[in-house]
């Protein structure tokens, strides 16, 4: 992970130096949704980067903005109601947010490909699997129809589907869920992208099928050298698949680091809460730890730290000041327990309050 250590993002010009091995560098991305009840800051100043060939896990619960981040990178959001308010998405040095629609179409598929949670809705039910892969290939690689069809068969074989000559002629509904996800992966890989974004690719699948798909993703990544951005809520999947982790909460990155560092020695109270609330063998007979409460109402975010109302370690500055990960040194956690808050030093021990906040 390469986080700029100088704090305010505004100071980092568009030409801000990006290390050559960094493939994707997202800086201070803000994506808002304008809906009837007001504005939802779905992604509110998110920065992270992915190095070539590496795997980044983006973890968080539903509504934390992880999928919107991915869709912003792909520029697949409906505008309006969505609006990318600010930020830079530097892919290979180019800012995707400044590309024309035509150029972006070229990037999608050729350079960046995405696979979704529900493969059934991502495949067109009235075309055969082979048609859909071949179409993508023709569109992006300007091959002849015949060559594209061969490429489709080849890529289906590559994702471990038996009898590819027969499978390419089948329709999506004739395939099982795991098979469809393989087809989606085949489709995504057919144009040799440099970055693969996988949004909860195994959430809809059974655990034995999930194991197959994760195995497959690892294998193709090894073979193609593509970088992977894996979005998931499952910390188990993260532990097995990724190199680096970004933990998101309420539209922000709250913690980042190597997978071992984050999962074995979490810093942010939210990450710690997530890890300790997973039932495990050692927990039998004990009450599970819980993160009290629920995520904040997007129309009524807390004034200080977004996590403060649920945080067991919250102390005075947390209700007033909003911790930003950019301000931390090193910039790996957004929490006043690690960065001195304005006007108050890091407390020797955190003061705790019980559930409920005086209003």
């Amino acid at each position: 992970m390469t986080f700029s250590t100088t704090a305010p993002t505004a100071e980092r010009g568009p030409a801000g130096a990006t290390a050559p091995d960094v493939l994707l560098d997202v800086r201070d991305l803000r994506t808002y949704f304008h809906v009837m009840d007001g504005t939802v800051r779905a992604v509110d100043g998110v920065s992270f980067s992915i190095r070539r060939g590496q795997t980044l896990g983006v973890v968080g619960e539903s509504g934390c903005g992880k999928s919107v981040t991915a869709l912003s990178i792909m520029r697949l959001l409906d505008i309006p109601p969505a609006e990318i308010v600010s930020g830079e998405i530097l892919f290979d040095g180019r800012d995707l947010l400044h590309l024309s629609d035509e150029e972006m179409r070229h990037v999608r598929g050729n350079d960046v490909a995405m696979i979704f949670q529900e493969p059934m809705t991502s495949l067109n039910p009235v075309f055969t699997v082979g048609d859909q892969i071949a179409e993508a290939v023709v569109l992006h690689q300007h091959l002849s129809r015949k060559d594209a069809w061969d490429k489709a068969i080849e890529s289906i074989k590559a994702v471990g589907i038996n009898n590819p000559e027969r499978r390419v002629k089948q329709y999506p509904h004739e395939l099982s869920g795991g098979m469809r996800q393989r087809v989606m992966i085949a489709m995504a890989l057919s144009c040799d992208p440099k970055l693969l974004i996988a949004d909860e690719p195994t959430t809809a699948l059974d655990v034995t099928i999930q194991a197959q798909i994760l195995e497959l993703i690892r294998k193709v990544q090894d073979e193609t050298g593509a970088a992977l951005m894996l979005i998931t809520h499952d910390l188990g999947v993260v532990a097995e698949t990724v190199h680096d982790v970004v933990v998101m909460y309420a539209g922000r990155v709250v913690e980042t680091g190597s997978v071992d560092g984050v999962l074995l020695a979490p810093k942010h109270p939210y990450t710690e809460g997530l890890l300790t609330s997973i039932p495990s063998k050692g927990m039998r007979g004990q009450r599970l730890n819980v993160i009290k409460g629920t995520v904040p109402n997007p129309f009524n975010m807390p004034e200080g730290c977004n996590f403060e109302p649920r945080c067991p370690y919250a102390f005075a500055p947390c209700t007033v000041h909003d911790p930003r990960i950019e301000d931390a040194n090193p910039p790996d956690v957004a929490c006043w327990l690690y960065t001195p808050a304005p006007g108050s030093p890091i407390p020797p021990r955190a003061r705790t309050r019980p559930a409920g906040r005086p209003s």
């Binding site: 809906v35 009837m36 009840d37 109601p81 009450r287 819980v290 009290k292 409460g293 629920t294 995520v295 904040p296 109402n297 129309f299 009524n300 109302p309 649920r310 559930a355 409920g356 906040r357 209003s359």
Partner: protein, 315 residues
């Protein structure tokens, strides 16, 4: 209205020995019931709001129009400027017919019969359609099969032809038989819709949950499924009102509908036809305009309701 409440379930009365379950934090959205929410969504639909206003106006006109502006069929004026009657400039607002009777009074009085036909027809069709559709969808199997074949039968009838024949033979120019004929012919589409809604809602978990606590079939059908099907039913019902008004105009225009002396928009059009040749455009225009206005406003309302009554949309 968003209230941030504290942890629930920690009432002091709780058994001190038992570990109290830890409650969620309350993230209460605004506490509106579904009808308030629906109204909020409806209000954002400008055309639907205008449509609703016009529709209300028509209802009010139908109620008080004949009282304030009574229409006397026999009041023939002698100072007619010609066979075309008074123009809207000579006899505001809408001019007069060939006998010098005010077209505005004609329209105001016609509203009553037309709206009455529209609304009662809708009520009859909705009742039949909902009951048939609900029974077919809820019980399924043989009953469903029989009822749906009946619906197919009704839908395969050439509607306009049958309406005309039935109106001539059973209508006799009377209001009640005409409404009955319309009502009986317009329900099958709705029955199909209701059946489809029931079929899908029947499998919902909240219906299974009701069954699991021992709630009976009748209550499940009418307390659980029907309220959730109400949105689409109401939308269809508004369109049925529009359909019935047009249908009345159609049969009356062809002289198959109400007696010539009854004042309805359809009859007004029919009577006007004979005088069109003399340049009397305002006589057919205004009743026709009111029919069109009512139907369009109802269609706008239907559109607005469709969005407003969908509980999933918070847009």
């Amino acid at each position: 209205m968003t209230d941030q409440t504290t942890v629930g379930g920690l009432a002091p009365a709780g058994d001190p020995g038992a570990a109290q379950p830890t409650a969620d934090f309350e993230v209460a959205l605004e506490s509106l019931n579904q009808w308030q929410l629906a109204w909020r969504r409806y209000k954002r639909h400008r055309l639907a709001l205008i449509g609703g206003g016009i529709f209300l106006f028509m209802i009010v006109l139908a109620i008080i129009g004949p009282i304030i502006w009574p229409f006397d069929r026999l009041a023939v004026r002698s100072d007619l400027p010609g066979p075309q009657g008074f123009s809207p400039l000579q006899d505001p607002p809408f001019g007069s017919d060939g006998a010098g009777r005010s077209v505005w009074r004609l329209v105001a009085n016609g509203a009553r019969l037309s709206m009455l036909i529209g609304l009662t027809t809708m009520l009859i069709s909705v009742t039949i359609g909902t009951v048939v559709g609900a029974i077919a969808g809820y019980f399924g199997g043989r009953i469903d099969n029989i009822l749906m074949r009946l619906v197919d039968l009704f839908l395969s009838i050439p509607l306009l032809f049958v309406v005309l024949v039935a109106a001539r033979f059973f209508g006799g120019g009377e209001l009640v038989p005409l409404i009955a004929i319309f009502g009986i012919l317009l329900w099958p589409g709705l029955a199909r819709l209701v059946r489809a809604l029931f079929l899908s809602l029947r499998e919902q978990e909240f219906v299974q949950a009701a069954r699991a606590v021992g709630v009976g079939d009748f209550r499940i059908a009418f307390r659980h499924i029907l309220p959730n099907a109400l949105g689409p039913i109401i939308v269809t019902a508004t369109l049925l009102v529009a359909n019935a008004i047009i249908l009345e105009a159609f049969v009356s225009y062809l002289n198959f509908g109400l007696k010539a002396q009854d004042v309805s928009w359809g009859n007004a059009l029919s009577n006007a036809q004979s005088r069109m040749s003399v340049g009397n455009w305002w006589w057919p225009f205004f009743p026709g305009f009111f029919i069109a206005l009512t139907v369009i406003s109802i269609n706008f309302m239907g559109d607005g309701l469709r969005d407003a009554l969908d509980p999933r949309s918070r847009e």
